[in-house]
Amino acid sequence: MSWFLTRRLVSLLVTLLFATVVIFAVLEIIPGDPARLMLGINATEEAVAALREQMGLNAPLVTRYLSWLSGLVTGDLGTSLTYSSKVSELIGERIWISLPLALLALFLSTIIAIPVGLFAAARRGKASDTGIMAATQFGIAVPNFWFALLLVYIFAVVLRWVPSGGFPGWENGFWPALLSLAMPAVSLALPQAAILSRVARSALIEVLGEDFIRTARAKGLTKNQTLWNHALRNAMIPVVTIMGLQFAFLLAGTIIIENVFYLPGLGRLVFQAITQHDLPVVQGTVLLLVATVVVINFLVDVLYAWIDPRLRSSTR
């Protein structure tokens, strides 16, 4: 296990390092001078040149990359060009919307998908199974932002139960804040729940064909006992993998959903920063999202190896 862990850890660090190079290089291509952007179009050439010097923009590319990288290690992501506050502070504020949103969506998707998958697997081939599978096909095809619009129309425009967007802030009470995340979370969760229930169903069906299930049934356990106590646990490997991938997807999905609901989270921050050419914010946020994906993949791999020792010897 320790050899496996070392190998995976090295691979994790290499991927992260590689990602920093890609992010830095890609964003260097963005046209426009950050110093000019900060000072506005009326600034004199001298003022722009002085600021460029002060920001270290005249240094060679490699030097700038290394100084950005050393900043990352100490947690210094630089200063935003448009908000004139620290990028780490901006991310620190915004993450308290996006992270709860993604977690809530993941939670919703899981509590819908597992029972649905179980139900369908237990009734494999019957009309209810076919119906559920058709519904999940439909769920996968629904764009989350369209579903979001539909929810806004029903719950905000027609029924007037919730506001159509915005975020009151956690400091103004837990429930109003959570309520404003409810519709965004549901719209993110539905397509994911459809995918996850299909995965859960397939995994369960595969496990149900194994010998140990027959043994469990033969020793007198009921169908439901076998399903809950033996099949579900063993079907969790593919389910957990997809959940890991989904979390990353949900976090990135906030870019669109936060725009639908005008939520001031990470997704909206990075979207606005990209359109305003606010490089330090884009670099910091993108790196955070990518690092989250890489770390989650790593954790899923380690979890796998822990559950199933056979996987430790495989290289990928």
């Binding site: 764009p143 299909r198 397939s202 990135a252 725009n259």
Partner: protein
């Protein structure tokens, strides 16, 4: 990432004909193909004819509800939504199809090369793949279109880039399992080089798998394009696009909900059609999975 090493469609070898015959007999394939055909036909017809001219703004007709005259109603500029959906289909299909083409044209040779060479070539390609995979696709697509400017072409590139590692990984995995087969060994002994073996023996054997994946990526491309256009990063006005129609509908949702409903239904039907086709094909080509999904 450690995915269970399953490439079930690679073995046992199934003759191409029997797979296609089974696909044509599959209800989900037929249903999916029928929907896809309808959407494609709508896109093609829009080149010659649409019920109304969408470049003609008739303010007197603005925000009309669906009726016999305007099947899906009109938008805030008085444009016929049905006509806009017809033309929008062109844009969606073109973007997604070319993006899949890019993914295949670059990903398949890379994956085949990695499988044939192994060693450091394989290692470098797969690590690069991991890095591309680590960038959530929406995020990178937004980044790319924001850097190079919004528009259909840049949307194609942005979506295409994310198809490359998908096809590279699939090709590599399936090709690797074929390289250890006896008939490949026989081909090597008879003096064939790696490129010739790949072209003559490996690629024909994984073609079915690539077609199935292509269908899935096509449907994901439609969704991705809609998302980018919704954010204003896809095809630019006056070219109608389903995603932008939805973003325009959002501001009118209280007055004209029909503006939001129909473009969404168009996206859902297209994606559903492609997914059903993909499922039907996969089941047909892979007997092990039949009846499970």
């Amino acid at each position: 990432m450690n995915m269970p090493a399953t490439n079930p469609a690679v073995e046992p070898p199934i003759s191409e004909k029997s797979g296609w015959d089974r696909a044509i007999a599959s209800r989900s394939f037929l249903f999916g193909a029928a929907i896809t055909f309808l959407v494609a036909a709508m896109a093609l017809i829009s080149f010659f004819w649409t019920p109304f001219d969408v470049t003609n703004l008739v303010i007197a007709n603005r925000l009309k509800s669906p009726s016999v005259q305007f099947l899906f109603g009109t938008d805030h500029f008085g444009r016929d939504i049905f006509s806009m959906i017809m033309i929008g289909a062109r844009n969606s299909i073109a973007v997604a199809l070319v993006a899949v083409g890019i993914g295949m044209a670059i990903g398949v040779p890379l994956g085949a090369w990695a499988a044939a060479k192994r060693g450091w070539v394989d290692e470098i390609l797969m690590r690069t793949n991991d890095v591309v995979f680590a960038f959530p696709s929406v995020l990178s697509a937004v980044m790319i279109t924001a850097i190079f400017g919004p528009g259909a072409i840049n949307a194609i590139i942005a979506i295409g880039i994310f198809n490359i590692p998908v096809f590279a990984r699939l090709t590599r995995g399936s090709a690797l399992s074929l390289w250890s087969r006896d008939y490949i060994l026989a081909a090597r002994v008879s003096g064939k080089g790696a490129t010739r073996i790949t072209v003559e023996h490996i690629l024909p054997n994984i073609l079915n798998l690539l077609i199935v994946q292509g269908t899935i990526q096509f449907s994901l491309g439609i969704l991705a394009e809609a998302g980018l256009s919704y954010l204003g990063l896809g095809a630019q006005p006056p070219m109608p696009s389903w995603g932008r129609m939805l973003s325009e509908a959002q501001t009118m949702i209280a007055l004209a909900p029909h503006m939001a409903i129909f473009p969404g239904v168009a996206i859902i039907l297209t994606v559903l059609g492609l997914n059903l086709m993909g499922d039907g094909l996969r089941d047909a080509f892979d007997p092990k999975l039949r009846g499970e999904n």
